[in-house]
Symmetry: C2
Subunit: 157 residues, 2 copies
């Protein structure tokens, strides 16, 4: 029986931990003989809440545009870093796709797993970027429970 291509989604952000999770994935899940596709997912926070508490506060269009630009640059730099890790680990021959979404990380990760029909989700154990301090650990907790595929939580050693 021919196996269908396996899609492995790795949630990446600017944290060292998420890059460590990616390295673990490349060393432990990609090295076998099955056909695999790597989906690099980065979730940008929704512009209005970025890293600030904006309850009741309206930003000017210029500020929103600047935040959006920063958020896009951050997403691209995260993706560049992730792809560099793939190249360093000699995983250059695997199929790779960048996926950039926006919204509440924990919900967006789970819905993207379903939308792209991922077979496995890999992520760090801590919060996700800007949400780290306030929601420590809750993103991976939520995804472990709600994502419709096996979830691999990789901690920084």
């Amino acid at each position: 029986m021919e196996k269908k291509e396996q899609k492995i989604m790795v949630a990446v952000d600017q944290s060292e931990e998420s890059m460590h999770a990616l390295s673990w994935c490349l060393s432990n899940l990609i090295s076998d003989t099955n056909k695999k596709k790597l989906l690099l997912l980065h979730v940008k926070p929704p512009p209005a809440i970025c890293s600030f508490d904006t309850a009741g506060y309206v930003f000017s269009p210029e500020v929103i545009a600047a935040m959006e630009k920063y958020s896009m640059e951050l997403a691209n730099s995260v993706m560049d870093k992730a792809e560099a890790i793939c190249r360093n680990l000699n995983a250059a021959d695997i199929t790779m796709e960048r996926v950039i979404e926006m919204g509440d990380a924990k919900n967006v990760i789970c819905s993207t797993v379903q939308k792209l029909d991922a077979d496995t989700l890999v992520m760090g154990s801590h919060g996700y970027g800007f949400f780290k301090r306030t929601l420590l650990g809750s993103v991976s907790d939520h995804c472990a429970k709600h994502a419709k595929c096996p979830v691999i939580i990789v901690k920084q050693p």
Copy 2:
């Protein structure tokens, strides 16, 4: 560089979900060319709390002996079932070890990971055996946070 033998620990109980987690592990983690050792871990509940709420109640030695016997038979039947799955998935040539411990599942799983120096922990997403109803999901949550290795949470499809 020669890679050291990877130890994969799978926490198994009488649930279908933990057996599904084992199957997932055999199909996705064992199939590559690295040398792997499979540690099948079953944690028996401590005798005094078994499946009953025993606050302030002392069991007779006969009852305790009967519960202990039942608990050991259950452990063996879980292990037999797990090994049958390994044989069915043609994983007969991997090194396999049965590990039976006793205590509070979430703490025992994490401490056994460390004691046996496991590289990866695989488990179902729900509670663990008798604890399922009262502590739904909390065992895997706890292990995802506290086990000193990457944790793979596999849900029943």
